[in-house]
Amino acid sequence: MSDTQIPADTGKHRRANIESHEATPVAPPPSVTRRLVTNLVPPILAGILVILAYAWVRSGLPPHRQFLMPSGTGIWELAFGIPDFVLELLRRSVTTMAIAVTGLGLSISFGCVMGIVMFRFLFLEKAIFPYLVVLQSVPVLAIVPLIQSALGFGFMPKVLIVALFTFFAVPTTLLLGLKSVDRNILNLFKLQNASWWVTLRKACLPFAGPTLFAGFSISGSLAVIAAITSELFFLSGEGGLGQLLMNAKIDFKYEQMYAALIMASVLSIAVYLFFKWLGNRLFSHWHEASGKQQ
């Protein structure tokens, strides 16, 4: 600093502005462990807080109502610690997932076709879109009895319920993505006399990909919830986690109910993360938001 010419005080600047400012050396990039700590510590702390709150609420319950909130040791001893029960839990998870995935598959395939059709023909968009909103606002649970009467108690009615829960997000996000293609990119294709189909394939669909996958994540995490909800109404046949929840209540095995709830959350999160991961893999090299976590 000493050999630097400090401009003479012209009176325009207050003295205080002509002080030398120390440089801050470039910080070294955070190490892997440091990044792990910054990413993991907050959720772990929050988790501990939730567990403490749970324990605190539980301790405040009168003893004859403490079954509503089983203790951690209870959940281990009466549920996750019993190999037979864990096997049953896994088997039921597979059943629930089969319903969820089939329903979601139906939603995705029909939803994509519907999104494209609405994109192609404006009058179909005008015709269909209001009813999509209506469908979304129908309380699906209220029409379960109707579905039971129509389709019975097998696999398909449950799949249909999942489809009803998860359908809305697919055509709507796809349509939104397809419609937000840059006007001039469409002009570029138009100048080459590209057909509608080629423009869809080479411009609109890739562009809509990230938006559509946001829709898939929403539908995906709803699918497991919907599958379990559907099972609550269909107690016959080979049941999944939903049936386990009801059985646990009837048999007064609240530890098992909690185990089923934990399993259901794990499945839901897994489906959500799967679409997140797939979306990242497909789009992160060009789509900025896809590259970021969460």
Binding site: N184, L191, A194, P206, W286, H287
Partner: protein
């Protein structure tokens, strides 16, 4: 109006593929062209302009006067509502106000896009794309995605993409408006280089009078909306042009004249 322009056109100026069929051997002719939008606003009104093969014509005018509409009419992106337009749209280059690259395609694949839409064989696409990428100075960036390129580089990719079709007519819709001045001036030189080398006919819409004069053989001033041709200025400087030209007295003088004309156009 174009018969005496030989001294200012590019040396290798070539006619459109079937140039003979256009009136007067021109590359583009607007004959009493008008354009009324569906909501009733007049975009263009009685535009008459003939552009000879190998000319580079810039269009300046007040904001919203229909400069871009003129290009869209010429390219067929919008349909005019009166008069006639002659142009060979088969070999048309077009750059937009932004680079309009497909972000999921690498530079190479972006440059190949238009050839793909024209069903060029893969082998030929690769060869031509490599050639044009080198021509715009992006050799080595073939495998980059657009999001990693600067604004100027994206524009170069966009130019290469159009050049791949070997356009006879090249339309520029304010392509460098969003770039910083130094990048803009460099791209001006590069477009002039390409113009001299490839010999297309250029129409260049811009807000900048010095840019228009620097690049063109002719500068067209449009009136405010509804746009019509107000003045046409011949630019007497030979190609290729040197950056120092911008600081010469006759250059500034011409800019001044056009500026006055534009002022008149805005005040109506």
């Amino acid at each position: 109006m174009s018969a005496d322009s030989t001294s200012t056109t590019a040396p290798e100026g070539r006619a459109a593929a079937d140039g003979a069929s256009l009136p007067g051997g021109n590359a583009i002719v607007f004959d009493h062209v008008s354009m009324t939008f569906p909501d009733g606003t007049e975009g263009l009104s009685d535009v008459n302009l003939a552009i000879a093969p190998g000319e580079f014509v810039s269009i300046v005018g007040p904001s919203g006067c229909g400069k871009s509409t003129l290009l869209k009419v010429a390219s067929g992106l919008v349909t005019h509502t009166g008069g006639k337009v002659w142009v060979d749209r088969d070999q048309l280059g077009y750059t937009f106000q932004d680079a309009t690259l497909l972000p999921w395609r690498k530079v190479q694949d972006n440059v190949e896009l238009l050839m793909e839409l024209r069903d060029f064989p893969a082998e030929e696409r690769r060869r031509i794309a490599a050639e044009k990428i080198e021509l715009v100075g992006l050799k080595g960036f073939e495998n980059h995605y657009p999001q990693r390129l600067s604004g100027g580089m994206k524009m170069r990719v966009s130019l290469a993409r159009s050049l791949a079709l070997n356009p006879a007519v090249f339309m520029f819709d304010e392509p460098f408006g969003a770039l910083d001045e130094i990048t803009r001036e460099r791209l001006n030189d590069e477009v002039i280089d390409l113009f001299v080398r490839e010999g297309f006919t250029g129409i260049f819409v811009t807000h900048s009078i010095p840019e228009a004069v620097y690049m063109s053989s002719k500068v067209v001033v449009m009136s405010r909306r509804p746009g019509r041709i107000q003045d046409i200025f011949e630019v007497p400087f030979a190609y290729p042009r040197a950056p120092e030209m911008r600081y010469q007295a006759d250059f500034s003088e011409l800019c001044g004249e056009i500026s006055l004309s534009l002022r008149k156009a805005i005040e109506g």
